[in-house]
């Protein structure tokens, strides 16, 4: 599948971490090196202007993927292309700089992602300063222009220009996340990676932040990669969804279709596991087990020990990702429409 106008393309992306004990202990206990494959051969593209949601349980590799996409972590294999540029390979400074400006990130914990010793105005002004035009041309920003831009950004995210001289501790969690968003959009990015942006917030505040993110997307033409474990948040925000399990994508689909007719048994299970607020009393497939340890993943399809539909081949052969799903049974035994 090729997106019509991809802003981000991920090819065979993988990341392996060395989780061995220190070498002395390995020597004494005769232990071998141990590795953890956090992300394993991902391929997908994100189209300009869309919100690509990525869901999965802890240990699925969501955050590792996010950090590789923004360039905070080098891939062990494969590449991330932002508008055709692979940051990990490009050494040309102006190109790197131009791409960097266009990618920003919003983190989960608004208490940890803002420097407590910086005033809010300085936090938001930093990307404006760093990415201002260098060569003193017409676009060069002076002090006053930067302050004006900070005010504009604060208003844009629903804060007040009078908030600029305050410190982060003077704000609530939701307001801090607004500050983080203002910082993220300060340098006019095209693409923002949002790693669990509302997981630390209460529902009423979550609604404010999600609405704000959608408004900004519309006004500024942003593209989002939204990473979350909350399926309802993905449902509200995403145009397309990728489901990860143990470092691999198991299914990708348009949001509506994926929620109505999940094709991978794991997706089905995730949807069934969400507590039902409407209390329709729908039948749920109880699935046992927990995500396995990624250091020692099961052979074959990593989901087979928990899968109610697993057959012999699932235990030995890893299903390839094709036609947007990685399941031996896809196509042959397509689960029926969801009983929603």
């Amino acid at each position: 599948m090729k997106a019509a106008d991809p802003i981000v393309e991920v090819h065979g992306l993988g990341r392996v971490f060395d989780v061995s004990s220190p070498w002395v202990s390995r020597l004494i206990d005769g232990e071998p090196r141990r590795t953890l494959t956090a992300v394993d051969g991902l391929d997908f593209a994100i189209e300009r202007g869309e919100t690509f949601g990525l869901v999965g349980e802890s240990g699925a590799g969501k955050s590792t993927l996010a950090r590789m996409v923004v360039g905070l972590l080098e891939p062990s294999q494969g590449q991330v292309m932002i508008d055709g540029v692979d940051l990990a390979q490009t050494r040309d400074r102006p190109t790197r700089r131009a791409v960097r400006r266009r990618i920003q990130m919003i983190f989960q914990d608004p208490f940890a992602s803002l420097n407590p010793r910086w005033r809010v105005g300085d936090i938001i002004a930093e990307p404006v300063r760093v990415f201002r035009p260098r060569d003193g041309g017409a676009g060069r920003l002076g002090r006053r222009a930067i302050a004006a831009r900070v005010d504009e950004l604060l208003e844009l995210v629903g804060l007040h220009s009078a908030d600029a001289p305050k410190f982060p501790h003077e704000f609530s969690g939701g307001q801090r996340q607004r500050i983080a968003i203002a910082r993220a959009i300060a340098a006019h990015p095209d693409f923002i990676v949002c790693d669990e942006p509302t997981s630390a917030l209460d529902v009423s505040i979550q609604a404010q932040i999600l609405n704000l993110m959608r408004d900004l997307q519309e006004r500024l033409g942003l593209t989002y990669l939204l990473i979350t474990h909350n399926l309802a948040v993905v449902r509200f925000m995403a145009t397309r969804v990728g489901v990860m399990y143990l470092g691999r994508l198991v299914e990708i689909g348009e949001t509506d279709a994926l929620f109505a007719r999940p094709r991978h048994p794991y997706t089905r299970m995730l949807l069934d596991a969400v507590p039902d607020l409407s209390m329709s009393g729908r039948a749920r497939t109880p699935i046992g087990g927990e995500p396995p340890n990624p250091i020692d993943p099961p052979p074959g399809c990593p989901f087979h020990p928990r899968c109610p539909k697993a057959i012999a081949i699932c235990k030995s052969e890893r299903p390839l990702f094709g036609d947007n799903v990685a399941c031996h049974l896809a196509g042959a035994d397509e689960p029926g429409p969801a009983a929603e």
Binding site: S172, A207, L231, R235, F259, A273, P275, L277, R284, I287
Partner: protein, 329 residues
């Protein structure tokens, strides 16, 4: 069997600070019937966990109960000396906390923690207690409990640890279990398993549950009745289905509308403007009034929990007394 199992009346909890006393719980009243599951829901800082801690007598200084009373089976337990309270805690009231890693002793085998708890509360021998410990592990769904009973907490996964914590809370067969965010630290698939385990086990053993959570979905799946808390007060209380389908208090209405659902992709989520006030700045009158779209003059005065049928809402909109009708017209 009459009367409620747990009865909390007009509970007030204060925190003494340098800037004076902060009222963290203010006039909290509710009952839990034997075998009933009461969900307590609210946003962070609403006072949910504090209510649970007050009931089991584990409020840490500078927090203290400043008024009201708590009765378990008719007996007052809010003013018991610590030694007496210790006999009630564990034996008659079991506790499940959010993080299974911190509520288990990392240096003790799972089996010893269970056996010790059983021995502390039941007049039986060690061998018998160990047999019961194994039986409990099997009841909470730990595979091959005879082998796992001698394992340490770090050898268990998150979900399995929470199962052990549930076994610990239930092994003395308490009448009431206080579960404070029991599934918040778990993945969704595991969360569903733990919810149904907790529901089935407490039902089988006839224990009542006070289920504290911020997740309305968990409440909908588990609770019989639900109390919605806001700024240290109960905003609304009632039967769970009715409350979710037809919330009365404007705060509950806003809260329900703010939750994204799986069913449809909404254009926009409803949002309540602003945030819950800090303890030091709770407004006079109704605490929700400054954010309330339906606030009127009367809200400057604090509303009591007004009974409407078998539900209750702390909101003047439901005051049907003649005086109130006059004012509104």
């Amino acid at each position: 069997m009459t009367g409620p199992l747990l009865s909390v009346r007009d509970l007030r909890v204060e925190f003494a600070t340098r800037k004076g006393a902060l009222t963290a719980l203010d006039g909290v009243s509710f009952d839990i019937a034997p075998g009933e599951v009461l969900g307590v829901v609210g946003e962070s800082g609403a006072g949910k966990s504090l209510t649970g801690l007050a009931v089991i007598g584990l409020l840490d200084a500078p927090g203290r109960i400043d008024g009201g009373e708590i009765r378990l089976d008719g007996e007052r337990i809010d003013n018991l000396p610590p030694a007496r309270m210790r006999l009630i805690r564990g034996r008659r009231i079991g506790i499940i906390f959010q993080d299974p890693l911190t509520s288990l002793n990392p240096l003790m085998r799972i089996g010893d923690q269970l056996t010790e708890t059983i021995l502390a509360h039941k007049p039986i021998g060690r061998r018998q207690a160990r047999a019961q410990a194994i039986a409990w592990l099997s009841e909470v769904g730990i595979p091959s409990p005879e082998n796992r009973v001698d394992g340490y907490p770090h050898e268990f996964s998150g979900g399995m640890r929470q199962r052990v914590v549930i076994a610990l809370a239930l092994c003395a067969e308490p009448q009431l279990v206080i579960a404070d965010e029991p599934t918040t630290a778990l993945d969704v698939s595991v969360q569903a398993q733990i919810i149904s385990l907790l529901k089935n086990l407490t039902r089988r053993h006839g224990a009542a549950v006070m289920l504290i959570t911020h997740d309305m979905g968990v409440i909908a799946e588990t609770a019989d009745r639900v109390a919605v808390m806001y700024a240290g007060r109960i905003a609304e209380i009632g039967e769970v289905h009715e409350l979710i389908r037809n919330p009365m208090h404007p705060y509950t209405q806003g809260l329900m509308a703010a939750i994204p659902t799986l069913a449809v992709r909404a254009r926009r989520l409803m949002q309540i403007p602003g945030a819950m006030p800090r303890l030091s700045a709770i407004p006079r009158g109704c605490a929700f009034a400054p954010r309330c779209p339906q606030a009127f003059e009367r809200c400057a005065e604090r509303p009591p929990l007004i009974a409407v049928g078998d539900r209750g809402a702390a909101c003047w909109l439901y005051d049907r007394s003649p005086a109130a009708t006059d004012i509104r017209n």
